[in-house]
């Protein structure tokens, strides 16, 4: 029953994507990493119409991300809270068995310490999800940003 299998997969992937967003919104980086595979790859990618090139604005493996998260308290960070609304658009098989390719759209809002909310960025997540692990985990994420002007930049993944 192939349909049912696909169905189960689709349904299983969605809460993972949901949980990842909630964890980042809460600044709960341990929870985020607990949902990530090892090895893991994270990138923020942006198309530059000025250079006609795909740029990489952030790239980290699991170790790099872990270090980043550890160093955050020492950094001067943009205050406030992020809110990522992520909608899974498609779930597809990948070239590798047990791995799915998940494409989601997201909208990120920023709420200042004064409680005012503004659109920060929109884009897509291109995710590779590992279905073979005990718990389903994220193996790789490419954040494809539409938005290129973020005003003040960020120390945390989008």
């Amino acid at each position: 029953m192939n349909d049912l299998k696909k169905l189960l997969e689709g349904e299983a992937v969605r809460p993972l994507i949901g949980r990842l967003a909630l964890a980042l919104d809460d600044g709960n980086f341990a929870a985020f990493l607990a949902l990530c595979d090892d090895p893991f790859n994270y990138r923020i990618r942006v198309w530059s119409p000025e250079l006609k090139k795909q740029m990489t604005w952030l790239e980290h493996d699991r170790e790099g991300l872990t270090e980043l998260f550890k160093s955050l308290p020492e950094h001067l960070q943009r205050p406030g809270r992020l809110h990522r609304q992520v909608t899974v658009a498609t779930v597809e098989p990948s070239n590798t068995e047990d791995y799915l390719v998940v494409t989601s759209s997201f909208i990120a809002h920023h709420t200042s310490l004064e409680g005012q909310t503004q659109t920060l960025a929109v884009g897509r997540y291109l995710d590779i999800v590992n279905m073979s692990a005990e718990a389903i985990v994220l193996t790789a994420r490419d954040v494809m940003l539409d938005t290129r002007d973020l005003g003040i930049g960020l120390h945390v993944p989008l």
Partner: protein, 406 residues
């Protein structure tokens, strides 16, 4: 009394001329108008890197104080700049920020122009008075353009000093790096900040704020004795490093090994930090393996467009490029460790001066052009004062009492 009353707060600190700057330089609309006219209308300003327009007809749009400019390489190979404005009724000629335009056709009524700014076509021209509206008379507005070490500069004024006169020897220390290998821009980003253009540029000129960046506290502050650092200022408001500062990358988790993994740029070692701030608002910075060029243009007294570039070696292996990109991003990417911090700082100060809670900036550090001397900032404001004809300590000539009854 350790805290200060309104009176004390509003009295400029008893410092020599040039060591104190009033918040009005960031907020007053008259000051701003003067800056746009006498600085951005008169000085040379970095536009883009030559590699961004490598071939004939390649162009790149530039934003200069809200004005859209076309930097284009002509059929003859020469780089020129034009207002991105049609001579007929003012429509913008090009909208894509970069491309190749062997002919420029205005979308509105289809007048056409060539890569040297000549008007080449007017549909149904018989409708016009012959001489006043003709291909001969309707060329584009050309902006003086020159190239130094691969850097394209523009100057809105028809006349005035040549680019090399304006720059003097300020870029000598970058010559090897900029010309020793073919360079290429691999990173570009724009950001509009809610601050005055000078508040941003100050983050580039100010050595003392190393203490803000955890990365610099751990890798730079103690990398060499403060008194061995060399700073230098030049005529026309430029200033930067007079010898390489050093970094100890091992001090920061995740930075160690930086520089062992990819060749450094010509003339520097992987841990060398070199920078030059060109008046009015361009910074060229290198950290061993990678170059950053950032340039700010004002959009309003409290609104600044920041354009940031990262440069690597043209044609280098993909793996090298990826590492160089990482090196760039570590400090300078929009998700990097340092640049968001600088942006926060610039906007934070801007907020204080805009509300007139902040009144003065102190730029009085004097370390004999070593350590964290404020000399580059003072040099900048000296030139600023010469051009605007205003005193940084009291640019509006107002009496010292403040609106909010302080």
């Amino acid at each position: 009394m350790p805290s200060r009353s309104s009176d004390a707060w509003n009295t400029p600190p008893a410092l020599p001329d040039g060591s104190v700057v009033s918040g009005d330089v960031y907020t007053d609309t008259g000051v701003y108008a003067d800056e746009v006219r006498s600085i951005y209308g008169q000085t040379w300003r970095f536009a883009c890197h030559e590699s961004e327009v490598p071939e004939p007809f390649d162009y790149r749009l530039i934003d200069h104080c809200g004005q859209s400019l076309i930097v284009i390489r002509g059929d003859d190979g020469q780089v020129r700049t034009f207002f991105n404005v049609c001579s007929h009724r003012g429509a913008k000629l090009l909208s894509e920020p970069a491309g190749n335009a062997s002919a420029i056709t205005c979308f509105y009524h289809r007048w056409t122009y060539d890569s040297r700014g000549a008007c080449t076509g007017i549909p149904r021209p018989a409708g016009y008075p012959k001489e006043a509206v003709s291909k001969q008379s309707m060329g584009l507005r050309e902006v003086r353009t020159d190239v130094l070490h691969g850097l394209v500069f523009i100057c809105l004024a028809d006349d005035g000093p040549a680019l090399t006169d304006f720059i003097g020897s300020a870029l000598d220390q970058f010559q090897d790096m900029l010309t020793g290998v073919p360079l290429e821009v691999f990173h570009f980003n724009r950001a509009v900040l809610a601050c005055n253009w000078k508040a941003w540029h100050e983050t580039n000129m100010d050595l003392y704020h190393e203490f803000m960046h955890v990365v610099l506290r751990k890798t730079q502050v103690n990398a060499m004795p403060m008194e061995d650092r060399k700073l230098i200022t030049f005529a026309n408001g430029h200033g930067g490093s007079g010898g390489d500062l050093k970094a100890k990358y091992d001090g920061y988790q995740g930075f160690s090994g930086r520089g062992a993994d990819v060749p450094a740029l010509p003339g520097v070692g992987p841990a060398d930090f070199r920078f030059m701030n060109l008046f009015p608002s361009t910074a060229i910075i290198s950290r061993g393996t990678v170059i950053r060029i950032d340039t700010a243009t004002p959009l309003g007294p409290n609104q600044t467009l920041l354009e940031m570039r990262g440069l690597g070696i043209k044609g280098e292996p993909e793996e090298h490029r990826r590492i160089r990109q990482r090196h760039h991003n570590q400090y300078w990417g929009p998700f990097g460790r340092n640049v968001p911090e600088d942006m926060i700082a610039a906007e934070s100060c801007a907020d204080s001066f805009r509300s007139e809670a902040g009144r003065y900036q102190i730029i009085a550090r004097d370390e004999n052009l070593t350590g964290q001397d404020d000399a580059i900032l003072r040099g900048f404001y000296q030139e600023w004062s010469k051009r605007t004809g205003r005193d940084p300590r009291n640019p509006t000539g107002h009496p010292q009492g403040r609106p909010v009854g302080q």
